[in-house]
C-alpha cells in the first residue's frame, strides 16, 4: 500500500530532480545515478523487492523474533518468580527450623532442670533417711552403752561384797553373811 503511494508521489518529484541532475552531469554522457532512462526500471524493481521484504517482515520475521523474545521474557519472569517462591520457602523452612531449635533448647533445659531437681530431691531424701538411721543407731548404741555401764556398775558392787567377804574370812575367820557385808559396804559404795 505504502509502496504504490510512494511511486505515485515519486512520479511528480522525480521529474524535477532529473532536470537538475541532467544539468549537473558534466554535460556529456549522463552521470549514471542521474540517468532518468533507468528510473522506471529501478523504481519498479525496488517496489517489487521492497514490497516483498515488507510483507515477509510483517508476516514472518517480526512475529517470529517477537515471539522468541517474548517467550524468553516470560520464561525469565517465570524462573524469577519460581526463584522468589523457592527463596520464600527456604526462608520459611529456616524460620521453622529456628523455632524448632529454640523449642527443643527450651524443652531440653526444662528436662535438665527437672532431672536435676528430682535428683536433688532424691539425694536429699536419701540423706535424711541415712541421717535418721544413723541417729537411731547412735541412740541405740548410747542406750546399750548406758545399760552396759549400769551392769558393770552393778557388778562392781557384788564383786566388792564378795571380795569383802573373802577378806573378812581370811582376816578374822568369821563367816559374814552377804546381807551384813552389804550393809557394811552400803555407806562406802553409796
Amino acid at each position: 500500500m505504502f509502496v504504490t503511494q510512494a511511486i505515485a508521489e515519486e512520479a511528480a518529484h522525480g521529474a524535477a530532480e532529473t532536470a537538475h541532475a541532467a544539468a549537473d552531469a558534466h554535460g556529456g554522457g549522463a552521470f549514471p545515478p542521474f540517468d532518468s532512462s533507468t528510473f522506471a526500471s529501478q523504481l519498479f524493481w525496488l517496489a517489487l523487492t521492497f514490497a516483498f521484504l515488507y510483507w515477509f517482515m510483517s508476516k514472518v520475521i517480526v512475529p517470529r523474533i517477537g515471539g522468541i523474545l517474548e517467550t524468553r521474557q516470560d520464561r525469565i519472569a517465570q524462573d524469577l518468580d519460581k526463584a522468589h517462591e523457592l527463596k520464600a520457602e527456604a526462608d520459611e523452612a529456616i524460620a521453622a527450623y529456628e523455632q524448632e531449635l529454640a523449642q527443643a533448647k527450651a524443652s531440653a533445659n526444662e528436662i535438665g532442670n527437672k532431672a536435676r531437681d528430682t535428683a536433688k530431691a532424691a539425694a536429699e531424701a536419701e540423706r535424711h533417711k541415712v541421717e535418721a538411721k544413723l541417729a537411731e543407731q547412735l541412740a541405740e548404741a548410747e542406750t546399750r552403752i548406758a545399760s552396759i555401764r549400769d551392769q558393770a556398775m552393778a557388778d562392781v558392787g557384788s564383786i566388792a561384797n564378795e571380795t569383802t567377804q573373802a577378806i573378812v574370812d581370811r582376816l578374822i575367820g568369821a563367816q559374814v553373811s552377804e546381807a551384813e557385808v552389804q550393809n557394811a559396804l552400803g555407806g562406802a559404795n553409796g
Partner: protein
C-alpha cells in the same frame, strides 16, 4: 575504462523488458542487487531464527540484536504506539544496511548509490507520515506546522519555515544517504586507481603507490562505518518523522 570511478554506477540490462506501457522495466544489475539484498535479509533472518532457541545461538543473536536495536530505536523516538510501524522501519533499516554493505564488495552494484532509490524510500517514509497523520488526526495533523507558544504575529513566518522544513525532509533524507554512498565509492575508486596507475610507472611508482594504498585500506574501513551509520541515520530519522505522525503537536 576500468579506472573510471563512475563506471561502477553504470546500470546494465541483464534481462531487457522494454516498453511495458511505454516504460523500460528491464531487469538490470541494480534490480539484481535489490533482489540479492532482499533475499539476503529475508534468508538470514528466516534461517537464523528457524530453531526459535530459548537460548540463542550466535547467528540467532545477530538477528535478535538487529531486532532489538531497531525496536528500541523506534520505541525511544515514537513511543509504544510507534511499534505498529516496526516492520516498516525494520525493513527499511535492514534493506539500507545490507544494500550498503553489499556495495562494499568489489564489482557489486550499490543499490543505495542511486538517487532514485533513496528518494523513493524517503518518499515512502514521508508518504507514510502524511497518510497516517491525516488518517489518525485529520486536520489536527496540520498542527504539526504551528508550534505551541508562538506569538500571533510570528505564526505565519513560523508556519512557512515549518512547511519548508517538512518539504525538505524527503530531499535531505534521500540525498544524505545517496551522497554518502556515492562519494565514498568514488573516493575509494579514485585512490585505488592511483595505486594501479602508479605501479604501472615502474620502481618509483611502486614506492609512491604505498600512500594511496594505505589510504584505500583506511577508506575501506571508514566506508564500512559509513555503511552502517547511514542505515542507522536513515532509520532514526524515519522514527522521528513517524513520531510526528503519531504526535503532531510539538
Amino acid at each position: 575504462m576500468a579506472n573510471d570511478p563512475i563506471h561502477q554506477f553504470q546500470i546494465n540490462k541483464i534481462i531487457p523488458i522494454e516498453n511495458v506501457g511505454g516504460l523500460d522495466l528491464s531487469f538490470t544489475n541494480a534490480s539484481l542487487f535489490m533482489v540479492v539484498t532482499v533475499a539476503a535479509v529475508s534468508g538470514f533472518l528466516y534461517l537464523t531464527t528457524a530453531n526459535r532457541g530459548l537460548v540463542p545461538g550466535r547467528m540467532q543473536s545477530i538477528s535478535e540484536m538487529a531486532y532489538e536495536f531497531v525496536a528500541s530505536m523506534l520505541r525511544d523516538a515514537a513511543g509504544t504506539q510507534g511499534m505498529r510501524f516496526f516492520p516498516f522501519v525494520f525493513s527499511l533499516f535492514m534493506f539500507v544496511l545490507v544494500a550498503n554493505l553489499f556495495g562494499m564488495f568489489p564489482y557489486f552494484f550499490t543499490v543505495t548509490s542511486s538517487i532514485i532509490v533513496t528518494f523513493a524510500l524517503s518518499i515512502l517514509v514521508i508518504g507514510t507520515v502524511v497518510v497516517y497523520g491525516f488518517m489518525k488526526h485529520g486536520a489536527k495533523f496540520l498542527g504539526l506546522f504551528v508550534p505551541d507558544g508562538v506569538p500571533g504575529l510570528l505564526v505565519p513566518l513560523v508556519v512557512l519555515i515549518e512547511v519548508i522544513s517538512f518539504l525538505s525532509r524527503p530531499i535531505s533524507l534521500s540525498v544524505r544517504l545517496f551522497a554518502n554512498m556515492l562519494a565514498g565509492h568514488i573516493t575509494l575508486k579514485v585512490f585505488a586507481g592511483f595505486v594501479t596507475s602508479l605501479t604501472a610507472m615502474g620502481a618509483i611508482g611502486i614506492g609512491g603507490a604505498i600512500l594511496p594504498l594505505a589510504m584505500t585500506v583506511a577508506l575501506t574501513g571508514l566506508e564500512f562505518l559509513v555503511a552502517f551509520l547511514q542505515a542507522y541515520v536513515f532509520a532514526v530519522l524515519t522514527c522521528m518523522y513517524l513520531n510526528d505522525a503519531l504526535h503532531p503537536s510539538h
